[in-house]
Amino acid sequence: MIYRSHILVCAGTGCTSSNSLQIIDNFNNLLAEKGYEKEVQVIRTGCFGLCAAGPIVVVYPEGVYYSRVTPEDVEEIVNEHIIKGRPVERLIYKEHDADGTSTTLNDSSFYKKQHRIALRNCGRIDPENIDEYIAFDGYKALGKCLTELSRDDIVDILLASGLRGRGGGGFPTGLKWKFAKAPESDVKYVCCNADEGDPGAFMDRSVLEGDPHSVLEAMAIAGYCIGAQQGYIYVRAEYPIAVKRLRIAIDQAREYGLLGDNIMGTGFKFDIDLRLGSGAFVCGEETALLASIEGQRGEPRTRPPFPAVKGLWGKPTLLNNVETYANICQIILNGADWFASMGTEKSKGTKVFALGGKINNTGLVEVPMGTTLREVIYDIGGGIPNGKKFKAAQTGGPSGGCIPAEHLDIPIDYDNLNSIGSMMGSGGMIVMDEDNCMVNIAKFFLEFTVDESCGKCPPCRIGTRRMLEMLTRITEGKGQPGDIEKLEELAKNIKASALCGLGQTAPNPVLSTIRYFRDEYEAHIYEKRCPAGECKALLNFVIDPEKCKGCSLCAKKCPVGAISGEIKSPFTIDTSKCVKCGLCMESCKFKAIEKK
């Protein structure tokens, strides 16, 4: 079947939640009604990365890029664009900075600085159609490995490529494969970590939703390399679309004989099954993850022995992250030198980041290692909304730290981020502006780790809770001199003594905010003041008598009757009654009310 036009509709989670499935239905119904279903094909794709502007619809062959499409817009697109050939101007994606419209998405600055390897097929192919994956060289890398490369060749290629694990640790992937290949064992396993527990991160989800076969193919290559016949993908049950697409992909691959016995007639045997996790952050830690696959409690254990020696059911096991796998086939096809030509000295290739927080283009970006934070936030991310000032970006989620404005020009790679007290992590990047209180941010992340601590080791179970109590006190204006030092000491001890990565890294957000924003901590403790104006307990709303015209509007709006005064003379706020809701400030026409 050949079509003259293709309508690609994003069915990533972001766009699905803003109704893109309804859009797909509407397109199909309307095209059928008008008799165009044989000429125009509607295709669901994975995430385009520009979720902030979703739902995204792209019409080929023109490559016209529509954003914020609603189900009601479908009729106009069909009538105008599909039938009459006139793109619907009002829906075409416009960038924040320029007023010139770009109709083809590759010209927009959001995509220009990106380099897509792991995400190469997302938004381009139909993830539920194995033929489309095959068309873009899918399963060619597996074929090459099985027929041309020895198991040692594959390890050598990965070592030379410089690929490092994208799950957070940044361990060299080639080395990991070498360790997993070394032990003699008739049974070994290949596992994929698709747990993605880092709040705000959705890189792995997008790869699974947009290009599931790339992970399956890489796992089969890993199976051939280390000598395993069974693979498991540990994916969280909260990712229903990813789970569904993975199931479809596995079925299709089995049907084509790309999984199962005697793959491509070479005698190699490999199969993959899914294991659903129920969303505990600690189950992303490798030993806890393997325990969970075995049906045990998701609790970590001490290492060594490392999984490469003693993993799933005591057998040698290779565990990699989704994005790590998504790079493998491209490295096999294009060579180690190609991959190593991108990035910095010790961090090669690209990294996917999930941009979130106070940023215009919330979404997914893939940039070469060594791109600066400034380029990611301002050129690709479109800067901070409402003309606010950048304060810091948190990378590495609850295990990472914040990067303040003074380090905006540092090239992003594993080692640089470590040296400034943050880390690469799995790729979450949360942007904060001048209205964010850094003590509160640290408290937010610590609340997360306290909730998610599995409770097996005391430093993490009790230590992080004590730290959280101290932070809560500080944000409530009850901080005492010496609190900062106590936090630092406790942090040092927890880092040194916790059992697994969760506890060992939990204090990082606190330490890095103290490092760069100690003055904010001090203002909270010594002056009982929150400079960003976020900590409610430390705020007072006051009316400036010079500006107040005595209109009484604020007094009428106040839900607790805390404002009083005579008409035409300045009003006052009774701070003992005030609940700090901010309604008065919003309602005042003379900007006479301030937060102090």
């Binding site: 003259r4 000429e39 062959p61 023109e62 599909i82 039938i83 050939g85 095959i134 399963y139 005697n262």
Partner: protein, 122 residues
């Protein structure tokens, strides 16, 4: 079970379809008038015939797309062939049977089929 050769065959077949979808700047553009007037005069089968002919011959540098009313409704179906650096050629009252000749003589070999062009009708 698929062998490497069979995979390659799927790849070849599918990539043509996908290239057709993605080529935003194909060297040659075939534009079919698909407004109400064109459709009423039978432009749809013409469009389909072009798409099929182009993909059968694997002409990856050719895109077939649609456009609105050009204003000469009496001469529909109208098809325009645009090549970079050349005057555009406008065919009128195109019938599906004529498509393979236009593709073979004009698009592949560069000689417009004069007898089908607008000059012969005016």
């Amino acid at each position: 079970m698929k062998t490497l050769q069979e995979l390659e065959a799927i790849r070849q077949k599918k990539i043509n379809e996908l290239n057709l979808r993605e080529s935003t700047e194909g060297n040659i553009r075939v534009v079919v008038g698909l407004a109400t007037c064109g459709i009423a005069a039978g432009a749809r089968p013409v469009m389909t015939a072009f798409v099929e002919e182009v993909s059968k011959r694997q002409l990856n540098n050719v895109t077939v797309s649609q456009t609105g009313c050009i204003g000469m409704c009496r001469l529909e179906p109208i098809v325009e062939v645009l090549e970079p650096g050349k005057e555009k050629v406008t065919y009128c009252k195109v019938k599906p049977e004529q498509v393979s000749r236009i593709v073979a003589e004009h698009i592949v070999n560069g000689n417009p089929v004069v007898e089908y062009t607008i000059g012969s009708y005016e």
